[in-house]
C-alpha cells in the first residue's frame, strides 16, 4: 500500500487531477466528457510514441529519430495512397507499421552489431530520414485533395463513441502493459537497462534486447506516421519537427529514468496526458500558447528532481553495526 501511495504514477495522477480541478473551477466546460475525450484523442499520437520511447529508454538507449521516422513513414504511405488509392486500409496499416519497424531495426542493428552509442545513431538517422523525405518528394507537399477519402477518414471513424485514433492508443497501452509485465521480453527490457552486466550473466543478450526496443519504437512511430498524416490530411518534410524532445519529456515526466531500468507504460501514458492536457488547456484559460514550451520545460525539470529523489537507492546498510562497533 505504501509503495502504491509513493509511486510516481499516483503522484502524476494527483497532479493531473489538480490541473483539471483548477481549470474546471473557472471553465467547467473543459472537463465535460466529450472535451476530455477530444483531449485524449489529441494526445493519442504522443501516447503511442511515448510508449515506444519508454521501452528504448528502459534499455539505456534513446531514440531521437522517432518523429523523423513518423514523417518518413507518413510520406511513404501517402505516396502509396496516391498511386494506389483503392488499397484497403488494413494494408496501409501493415505497411506503415512494417516500414516504421524496418527503420527502427536499422537503428537497432547499428546499436547492436556496431556498438555505436544510440544518441549518435539516432541523431544521424534523424537527419537521414528527414532528408530522404525530401529526396522522395523534392520538397513538395502531399495535400488533402490528393489523398483518398478512406485514407483520410480512418483515424476519425467513430467506434463506440471514440475515434479510431484513440482506440489505437488504448490498444497500445493494454498490449504493452501486458508485454512489459507478463512476458520474458518485457522482463529482458528491464534487466538490460537495470544492470546490463547482470543481465548478460543471466543469459540475456543485451544488444539484441536493445535491437527489439528500437524495432518496437520504430513500429509505433510508423503506425503513428500514418495516423498523423491522415488525421491532419497533409504530409511534408517537417511533419512533427522537434516533437521528439516532447516525446522524451513525456517519458521523463512519467517517471522513466534516463539511466535505464526504471519506468512503466502507465507512467508514460500519464506523462503524455499531462503534457496533452496542458497544451489543450492553455488556450481555454486564455494563456498565450507561447507559454506552453516554458511550462513543459519547467515540468521536465521538476519531474527529474522528483525522479532523483524517488530513485535515490535506499540500499541496506550492511556495515552499519560494524561501523558503530569501531
Amino acid at each position: 500500500m505504501k509503495r502504491i501511495l509513493a509511486s510516481r504514477e499516483l503522484l502524476l495522477l494527483v497532479a493531473i487531477a489538480l490541473v483539471l480541478g483548477i481549470i474546471s473551477s473557472r471553465f467547467p466546460a473543459f472537463i465535460t466528457l466529450s472535451n476530455l475525450a477530444a483531449v485524449f484523442n489529441d494526445t493519442s499520437p504522443l501516447i503511442l510514441l511515448a510508449i515506444g520511447q519508454m521501452i528504448v529508454i528502459l534499455t539505456k538507449c534513446i531514440d531521437l529519430s522517432v518523429t523523423a521516422n513518423l514523417a518518413l513513414t507518413g510520406m511513404v504511405v501517402s505516396l502509396i495512397n496516391i498511386s494506389a488509392p483503392g488499397l484497403p486500409i488494413v494494408v496501409t496499416l501493415v505497411v506503415a507499421t512494417g516500414f516504421g519497424a524496418c527503420l527502427g531495426m536499422f537503428n537497432g542493428i547499428l546499436v547492436w552489431k556496431l556498438d555505436i552509442p544510440p544518441i549518435v545513431v539516432t541523431l544521424g538517422t534523424m537527419t537521414i530520414f528527414r532528408g530522404t523525405i525530401f529526396l522522395l518528394t523534392e520538397g513538395k507537399w502531399v495535400n488533402s485533395h490528393e489523398m483518398s477519402d478512406t485514407f483520410k477518414a480512418f483515424p476519425r471513424t467513430e467506434l463506440l463513441g471514440l475515434p479510431v485514433l484513440s482506440w489505437f492508443a488504448i490498444a497500445a497501452v493494454i498490449l504493452f502493459t501486458i508485454v512489459m509485465t507478463r512476458t520474458t521480453l518485457g522482463r529482458a527490457f528491464y534487466a538490460a537497462g537495470g544492470n546490463p552486466h547482470a543481465a548478460t550473466y543471466a543469459g540475456i543478450n543485451v544488444g539484441r534486447t536493445q535491437f527489439w526496443a528500437f524495432t518496437i519504437s520504430g513500429a509505433l512511430a510508423g503506425l503513428t506516421g500514418y495516423l498523423w498524416v491522415s488525421r491532419f490530411a497533409v504530409a511534408y518534410v517537417d511533419v512533427a519537427g522537434g516533437f521528439e524532445l516532447t516525446v522524451v519529456a513525456a517519458c521523463v515526466i512519467g517517471g522513466v529514468s534516463i539511466m535505464g531500468g526504471i519506468g512503466s507504460v502507465p507512467g508514460a501514458l500519464l506523462g503524455a496526458l499531462f503534457l496533452g492536457i496542458i497544451a489543450n488547456a492553455l488556450p481555454v484559460v486564455n494563456i498565450s500558447p507561447f507559454w506552453q514550451m516554458a511550462i513543459s520545460g519547467g515540468a521536465i525539470i521538476i519531474a527529474v528532481v522528483l525522479n532523483a529523489q524517488a530513485n535515490r537507492t535506499k540500499g541496506r546498510i550492511i556495515l552499519k553495526r560494524a561501523e558503530h562497533a569501531t
Partner: protein
C-alpha cells in the same frame, strides 16, 4: 554491454605512425578530399570572398562546439545551447528597445549565457541530475521564455556599430567572426591539452570516481564547464544576432544537434574521456565545406543534412566494420 578485451602491445607505435593513423589525420584527408572535389565541381568555389562567406556556416556553431567538446569529454552534455542563444538574443533585443548601447548589449548577451550555464551547472552538479534530461528541460524553458517575451514578434533596430561582430571584416576577406573562432580554438586547445584543468576533464570523463579520489573537485570542474558552455553560447548569440540584425524566438533552432554532430565528428567520444580540439576544428571545416560546396551546386539544405548525418554514422561505423572484418 559487451566487455572489451584489450591487448597491450610490446612496444608503442612510433609517433609518426600514431599521428598518421589518428582520427584527426583521417578527418583531414576527408576535408582535403571535399575541398578538391568542390573546386572541380564548381568554378565559383575557389574564390576568396566565397570561401570567406562559407566560414559563416560554422564559426558560430564551432565556438560552442569547443566548450561542448570539453563538456562531452567530461561525460556530460548540454542540449540547451541553442535555447541559450535564443534567450540571450531576446535579452539583447529587449535591451535595445530600452536604449542600451553596443557595449551594454554585448555584456548582457554574455551575462545571460553565463547565467543559463550556471542554472544547468547547478542542476547537474548541485542536485546530481543527469545532464541529458536536465538540458532537454532547460532547453524548453530557456526558449520558452523567449517565446513568452516575443511571441510572434521580432526585435530589430540594433545599433549600427553592433553589426561589426557578425558582419565586420578585420583584414581583407578575414571576418571578425573567423578571427574570434581562431582565437577561441587556440584558447580551448591550450585549456584542454596544456593545463591541469584539461587533464582533470579527461580524468573525470574516464573515471569520475577515480578522479574524485585523486583529489579532483569533480563537481567544481563540471560546473565550470557548464559555465563555459553557457558563456560560449552567449558569444555565439552576440555574433549571430549581429549578423542577422534581428531576433526571433526561433533563432538558431535545432543548432544543438548540429553542434553535437560537429563534436562527435571531431572524434570526441560521446561517452566521455576521449577527444581533441584540433579534431573539432577540422570537423567544423568539414561540415562548413560540405554545406558550402553542395550549396554552390544548388543542392538544397536538407540534402546536405543527409550527408552530414551519413558522415556522422559512417565515420564511427567504418573503423568498427574494418576491425570486425579483419577479425
Amino acid at each position: 554491454m559487451t566487455t572489451t578485451t584489450r591487448s597491450i602491445p610490446d612496444r608503442l607505435r612510433s609517433p609518426l605512425e600514431r599521428n598518421l593513423k589518428s582520427w584527426e589525420s583521417l578527418l583531414m584527408l576527408v576535408a582535403i578530399g571535399i575541398f578538391i572535389a568542390n573546386s572541380f565541381a564548381s568554378p565559383y568555389f575557389l574564390n576568396a570572398w566565397n570561401l570567406s562567406d562559407a566560414t559563416f556556416n560554422f564559426t558560430e556553431k564551432a565556438m560552442i562546439a569547443f566548450a561542448m567538446a570539453l563538456l562531452i569529454i567530461s561525460g556530460e552534455i548540454d542540449l540547451s545551447v541553442a535555447a541559450i542563444i535564443a534567450l540571450a538574443s531576446t535579452a539583447m533585443g529587449a535591451a535595445v528597445q530600452a536604449g542600451v548601447g553596443t557595449e551594454g548589449l554585448v555584456l548582457i548577451g554574455l551575462a545571460v549565457g553565463l547565467a543559463c550555464g550556471a542554472v544547468n551547472g547547478f542542476l547537474v552538479t548541485g542536485l546530481g541530475l543527469p545532464s541529458i534530461v536536465v538540458t532537454i528541460g532547460t532547453m524548453s524553458l530557456f526558449r520558452g521564455i523567449s517565446f513568452i517575451v516575443l511571441g510572434d514578434q521580432v526585435y530589430k533596430g540594433y545599433p549600427a556599430d553592433f553589426a561589426f561582430f557578425g558582419q565586420g571584416y578585420v583584414w581583407w576577406v578575414i571576418s571578425f567572426e573567423f578571427v574570434l573562432f581562431a582565437i577561441i580554438a587556440v584558447i580551448y586547445a591550450v585549456i584542454l591539452h596544456m593545463t591541469n584543468f584539461g587533464r582533470a576533464v579527461y580524468a573525470i570523463g574516464n573515471n569520475a570516481t577515480g578522479a574524485l579520489f585523486s583529489g579532483i573537485r569533480v563537481g567544481r570542474v563540471k560546473f565550470t564547464l557548464f559555465l563555459l558552455t553557457g558563456l560560449m553560447s552567449g558569444v555565439a548569440a552576440v555574433c549571430l544576432t549581429s549578423r542577422l540584425g534581428s531576433t526571433r524566438p526561433s533563432i538558431a533552432f535545432g543548432w544543438e544537434l548540429e553542434i553535437v554532430t560537429m563534436v562527435v565528428l571531431g572524434g570526441v567520444n560521446i561517452l566521455g574521456g576521449f577527444g581533441s580540439i584540433p579534431g573539432v576544428v577540422i570537423a567544423a571545416f568539414v561540415m562548413g565545406l560540405v554545406t558550402f560546396g553542395l550549396g554552390l551546386l544548388n543542392v538544397p539544405g536538407i540534402v546536405m543534412s543527409i550527408v552530414i548525418g551519413a558522415l556522422l554514422i559512417s565515420v564511427i561505423a567504418l573503423p568498427r566494420l574494418w576491425s570486425m572484418w579483419r577479425g
